[in-house]
Amino acid sequence: MQSQVQNRATHVRIDHPDRYLACGIRALLRAHGNYEVSVCCDPAGEVAHPDLVLIDYDTLFSAGFILQRQAQAQAKGYARGRPQPRVMVVADRCTSWQVRKAIDAGVMSYLTENCSAEEMLAALRTVALGQRYFPVAVAQQLADSLAIHAPTHRELAVLNLLADGLNNRAISQQLSIGEGTVKTHVKALFNKLQVPSRTAAVAAAQRLGMLSRAAGGMAMGAGRSLAA
């Protein structure tokens, strides 16, 4: 089993929007071992049926990627014994909520972009064999995430509007619900995040990675990312 994988080159497609990072991973894989690599921004050397796909966290939940996965699942090539490509996330940060959501979405590995070359290669080797790979820091975040009471879908929507600085009335108008309902959601959030105030809730949500970057970030045309 293992020798089969070793003989055939592992086909990797890097669909990461950060092209500097994508080029770095490509250069690394070309220098080490048996890999066929293609990068989304470079049509040359396109891999038709990749074994592994590397993406960032946001791409994982983008409509384009989800539709692509559905199409792959239905395509004939995959139905005839060819497994769907395994997904690895290379994210700019690892927060407990993000790690948990990524694993729920079926990723085989979650790395942070400041990982070492050795770690990247180890992850690729492990995932190519069909096993999951999580660095220690990510595994710790995953364990932490199990201690969080997960907010509901609606509570998360309220949380994102809260993070934009909206008051209860404005939130109720945005979501077309009563102001009393918003208050209930906010109270539930305070309980789940164990915080006393709105601003503290936003700070906690940011630390845990619960805020979707589209909220607020899009309005200003700027990412909310705080990484180096």
Binding site: P17, R19, Y20, L21, C23, T199, A201, A222, A227, A228
Partner: protein
């Protein structure tokens, strides 16, 4: 138009993968030579490409206050980062960064930036960071005390908590916060927190840079856009 001489570029980026990517892109470009290096030696490289904190650290010891004869030793730094707050960009430019590229920018812009600054161009901003700077409001010009209060506010402290930690009365905290509200034209404290995060208005603890380079030293940059 291409320079006759090879431009040497040193890559000083904390993330190994990004560092490798930058070198890969530089090496593909004609007339540009990339090298990786830990200690920046400005004599052997024309340009340094660095991440935000390392780039600013390189610029910090030789600030704008130096006598003119030392000015030649200030490295030509291009910053490649994810920090997209408008004040973070302004701060880097005020400290003497010659280029600012966001990580989602096109790799072609890196090469353009390298060529532009070595040919005597003053500042190269990637397309996105130009947009962010243009959209940003006027500088907030916080006092150092207001910045102290903002750090606690963003972390979710209430007025009483801030008062306790800074050893001032809750009433003083309140009046500081209303001044901050006026400066930002914000209506609530959660709106303040949102604006501070989005625009990168204050240097938070996770920032490695020195604190005295805060918003109050803001210098309006002579923005060269592309």
């Amino acid at each position: 138009m291409t320079p006759s001489r090879t431009i040497s570029v040193r890559v000083c980026h904390d993330d190994a993968m990004v560092s490798a990517g930058l070198l890969d892109i530089l090496e593909r470009a004609p007339g540009v030579e990339g090298m990786s290096g830990e200690a920046p030696d400005t004599r052997v490289s024309d340009v340094v490409v660095a991440n935000y904190s390392r780039g600013l650290a390189m610029l910090a010891p030789t600030g704008a206050k130096n006598p003119p004869d030392l000015a030649a030793q200030i490295p030509t730094v291009i910053i490649v980062t994810r920090r997209a707050g408008e004040m973070e960009i302004s701060r880097a430019l005020a400290q003497g960064a010659r280029g600012y590229l966001l990580r989602h920018s096109d790799p072609g812009e890196l090469i353009d930036a390298v060529r532009y600054v070595t040919n005597g161009g003053v500042r190269y901003l990637c397309r996105q960071s130009t947009v962010i700077l243009e959209r940003g409001g006027p500088p907030a010009n916080f006092t150092s005390r207001e910045e102290d209060i903002l750090r606690f506010l963003v972390a979710g402290e209430c007025n009483k908590g801030i008062a306790r930690q800074l050893n001032i009365s809750a009433h003083t905290v309140k009046s500081h916060i209303s001044t901050i509200c006026a400066k930002l034209q914000a209506e609530s404290r959660s709106q303040i927190a949102m604006l501070v995060n989005q625009r990168g208005l204050i240097t938070l603890d996770r920032t490695a840079g020195p604190r005295h380079t805060g918003a109050r030293q803001y210098l309006p940059p002579n923005v060269t856009s592309h």
